[in-house]
């Protein structure tokens, strides 16, 4: 190894050691907190009965003849003997855990029969731990006793509502049983608990795929192909590209008629809560929009020219849709269809017929953002839609929606934030002018604290923009103070360094403006210039 490599290796090692130490110290600090809390609890707890029942040695008659050999398992194996927990319940638990461990070995050897028996014993010993149920559920799953598996999962869920594995296994069992809707529910629950669970995401896609296939064949939500349908597929947008505005539920008119063979759609409907749950785990807050009354429908059965949502704005984004199959099918007029640039091809293999006809398949799966760029400005040619069902759909819009009589509700200005989290949550949801009002409502001396550690470059850019767009034109006297307060934030130094050219331009234009105002404090300004890197 050359000297250089050696030096490099040494450096790497030193760095690694330092990291190691750092993490141990962090670990230690959290442990300190834990143990201090425990200690406090212990002090409050009543005196435990010491094992005073053991006689004092000198009071016992020695029996030299007796010779009992060490018989515990610790004698033969080099594994350690662990202190038994004093609490009898804990002892039961420990015993059950031991039994469970045995069961786990059986599972590893694929001896599910034995494992099931073992887990059942564990449950009998200590019935309060969901893990035994989950493990037994796995065995049942492997043995294809799906009903039993579902039962066990339910038992586990009863013990622990957030038991991801239980939901996941119930989903698997339900899938195998063909209860696709049940499986879907479980899958969404898993995702609600663990949004990053890749397995669950895959399963969700799979279940949805299956549901769709079934549905297109004969499912309760079967909609016969009709001309002029567009299949709108979800588009997955990375988080940073998504709009930060709150999502709103917008009533969507379903123009599908007549319904398929069955009318047990109620059974398949996914509740709003479920939908919210899914989306809450993926994006920002949801704002409920008041449902407008279903519009009275003309009695003529659906002409293909109908439109559910037409946005006057250039980009009405259909952000998240959920509701497998239940989801509204929107029949768009042909004009739209032609102009639609962003509509992906129909993925419905069952009807590869005419390219002009595509079912607008508003569906589920990922938090998808599809942006059909409707070129219809003002959409004069829209006919009154025929409404058969009211659907909720989340639509995010930049401006008003002319399919909906009520214009979008401007959020009322929230009260001044009291804490960092409140600020950041609220901030992202505000429009430009609101941000201005909001910022003004915060006491300037508190600003630094409120920005706190969550202060990121997006917020920073927003702040600058707000100052630039509103403070400066209004000659707000607190502008300099706000800037100064912002610069006191711990994160500021790094953020200032990472300012984009645009932001820098904004800053310098702000400063140019401030310079010309009366009653400025040159010292403060100098400081500001230095802090913001504007010479």
């Amino acid at each position: 190894m050359s000297a250089q490599e050696k030096a490099f290796e040494l450096q790497r090692q030193v760095r690694q050691n330092a990291r190691e130490y750092e993490s141990s110290v962090k670990d230690l600090y959290s442990w300190e907190q834990d143990i201090k809390n425990k200690e406090k609890e212990l002090q409050k707890a009543p005196h435990s009965a010491a094992n005073k029942d053991v006689p004092v040695r000198s009071h016992v008659k020695s029996e030299k003849s007796r010779k009992d050999s060490p018989s515990s398992s610790a004698a033969s194996s080099p594994t350690e003997k662990q202190d038994l927990p004093v609490d009898p319940v804990a002892q039961q638990h420990k015993k059950a855990n031991d039994i469970k461990d045995r069961g786990n070995t059986y599972v590893k050897q694929a001896e599910y029969e034995k494992a099931i028996i073992t887990y059942s014993t564990a449950i009998a010993v200590y019935p309060h731990d969901p893990i035994y149920h989950i493990n037994r559920a796995l065995c049942y799953l492997k043995q294809e006793c799906f009903e039993l598996c579902v039962e066990d999962c339910e038992a586990a869920i009863a013990l622990d509502k957030l038991c991801v594995k239980a939901y996941y296994r119930r989903m698997q069992a339900n899938e195998s049983l063909g209860n696709n809707m049940e499986a879907l529910k479980d899958c969404t629950t898993v995702l609600a608990i663990e949004p990053k669970n890749i397995e669950a995401k895959k399963s969700l896609a799979r279940i949805n795929e299956r549901l769709r296939k079934i549905a297109t064949k004969s499912g309760p939500n079967f909609t016969p192909d009709r001309p002029g349908m567009i299949d709108i597929l979800p588009i997955d947008k990375p988080v940073y590209k998504r709009s930060k505005k709150a999502m709103r539920r917008v009533p969507v008119v379903d123009v599908v008629s007549p319904r398929g063979i069955s009318d047990d759609s109620n059974k398949l409907r996914i509740s709003d809560e479920d939908i919210d749950k899914i989306f809450n785990s993926n994006c920002g807050a949801i704002e409920e929009v008041k449902r407008s009354k279903p519009q009275p429908m003309p009695d003529k059965p659906s002409p293909p020219k109908a439109e559910a949502i037409a946005a006057s704005s250039k980009e009405a984004k259909i952000t998240k849709q959920s509701a497998v199959k239940v989801a509204p099918v929107v029949v768009a007029p042909k004009e739209i269809q032609k102009d639609t640039t962003n509509v992906p091809e129909s993925d419905n293999e069952t009807k590869p017929s005419s390219p002009k006809k595509a079912a607008v398949e508003v569906s589920k799966v990922q938090p998808a953002v599809s942006t059909p760029k409707t070129t219809q400005q003002g959409s004069p040619e829209v006919k009154a839609p025929k409404v058969t069902t009211m659907q909720t759909e989340k639509i995010e819009q930049t401006s008003s929606n002319n399919a909906m009589p009520p214009s979008p509700i401007e959020r009322s200005l929230p009260p001044a934030p009291t804490g960092t989290a409140q600020f950041h949550v609220t901030w992202k949801e505000l429009s430009g002018p609101q941000k201005y009002q909001y910022l003004k409502s915060i006491d300037v001396p508190n600003l630094c604290k409120i920005l706190g550690a969550g202060f990121d470059s997006d917020t920073f850019a927003d702040l600058l923009r707000t100052i630039h767009d509103y403070y400066v034109p209004n000659k707000e006297p607190t502008t300099a103070a706000v800037l100064l307060e912002v610069s006191k934030n711990d994160e500021f130094t790094i953020l200032a360094m990472l300012m984009s050219a645009e932001e820098k331009k904004m800053v310098s234009s702000i400063f140019n403006a401030i310079k010309n105002w009366p009653n400025k404090n040159p010292a403060v300004l100098d400081n500001l210039f230095k802090d913001y890197g504007v010479a």
Binding site: L28, W31, E32, H47, S48, K52, V56, E80, K81, D83
Partner: protein
């Protein structure tokens, strides 16, 4: 480098000679026992508070403290048994340390060493304290039984004139409990200044085994106290470290052992062992892993060792008797943390890798050992 590192996390200089440091069970506090220059005993309680140590309590008594232990105290009670320079054994309640819970003139000379058991373990017999003293006696105490020891293992009274009277009495430097795997069994190991090692069986009240090391025994510890005895680590003057396999006792050869003669010498940064053969003052097994233990040496260095079991722990010799086979010792890590001997060391029972140690440079150190979980 995937070896554990021994890192000094906190350092507290004190104004007295430190003799013992012990963690208070189930807390982030430790106790420092020592002797002030005026000969008074001092007990300080420190609490870890992120990057500093906070002194919670300080108690001063007339006589210098030598050693202490929480072994016989329940988690809730926190009674520390302390031996002092005048042979007095007292049990102090950490909450009200002014008035001892138990107080007895245990020995005629300084109590060098103390060990206790039965406080937290269940089914492990009575809580008992064992003390070893300069007067050569090893005594076992049960605080429920007034002023007399429950077992007294004193050397026989010496014959002869007054001058040579004490010469025959060996100085007991180290004691340790072990083999307490049920309510009756219990063993005390005692090490003496002349290198004698005695294993007393408390159940049968007899000497189970005796041996003599080359040098005086400074430190003793069973790897676990509450199991059938498995290993016994012994440290001596002049850098000896011996680990006995205590599972098998041969009728004539006794227990077999592995020996490391260089354990007290300092290890340089490049791993070169140098310097004089310094005393190994202390040996402490990791509470979370009984095959790892640490020794504190006279050169101010500490070393982490791993005991490797042999393939077969027992063989039959030519007479058909069972003979134990000792394993091997690997040094896992070493660090020099002081210029003076590190003579007391205590692993935290609840937190892997956290330890406190005292050295004769009048300071107390909190150490973090990383990557212990990989063993």
């Amino acid at each position: 480098m995937d070896k554990p590192q021994l890192i000094e996390h906190l350092h507290e200089a004190v104004t007295y000679t430190v003799y013992d440091t012990k963690w208070v069970p189930l807390s982030a506090k430790f106790v420092v026992l020592g002797s002030k220059p005026n000969g008074h005993g001092i007990m300080d309680i420190y609490e870890l508070n992120q990057d500093k140590l906070v002194k919670v309590k300080s108690v001063e008594k007339k006589v210098a403290f030598k050693c202490g232990t929480f072994g016989a105290a329940s988690l809730r009670n926190r009674h520390m048994a302390i031996g002092d320079f005048e042979g007095r054994l007292q049990v102090l309640d950490m909450e009200q340390p002014d008035l001892p819970v138990y107080n007895v003139k245990a020995h005629s000379g300084i109590i060098n060493t103390i060990d206790a058991i039965g406080g937290t373990q269940i089914d492990c017999g009575a809580p008992e304290i064992v003390t070893g003293s300069r007067d050569g006696a090893v005594k076992v105490w049960d605080i429920r039984q007034g002023q007399a020891p429950v077992v007294d293992m004193s050397p026989p009274p010496q014959m002869g004139d007054g001058i040579n009277n004490s010469a025959g009495r060996r100085d007991c430097w180290a004691v340790a409990f072990g083999n307490t795997y049920n309510a009756e069994e219990r063993i005390v190991a005692a090490g003496y200044d002349n290198g004698d090692l005695k294993i007393f069986d408390l159940r049968t009240l007899s000497v189970r085994w005796e041996a003599t090391m080359k040098n005086g025994i400074c430190g003793l510890e069973f790897d676990r106290r509450d199991i059938p005895m498995n290993k016994l680590a012994v440290t001596t003057l002049e850098g000896g470290l011996l680990v006995f396999d205590m599972r098998t006792q041969h009728p004539t050869k006794g227990f077999s052992y592995v020996e490391e003669r260089n354990a007290g010498r300092s290890v340089g940064t490049n791993g070169v062992i140098s310097g004089p053969k310094a005393t190994v003052w202390v040996v402490r097994h990791l509470p979370q892993n009984r095959d790892l233990f640490l020794t504190g040496g006279g050169t101010g260095s500490i070393r982490l060792w791993q005991y490797e079991y042999p393939d077969r722990r027992v063989v039959d010799d030519s007479d058909g008797n069972k003979l134990g086979v000792a394993g091997a010792l690997n040094m896992v890590s070493a660090a020099t943390i002081s210029t003076q001997p590190v003579h007391c060391f205590d692993w935290h029972p609840d937190k892997l890798g956290l330890a406190v140690c005292g050295a004769f440079d009048q300071s107390v150190r909190v150490l973090i050992t990383t990557k212990l979980n990989t063993y």
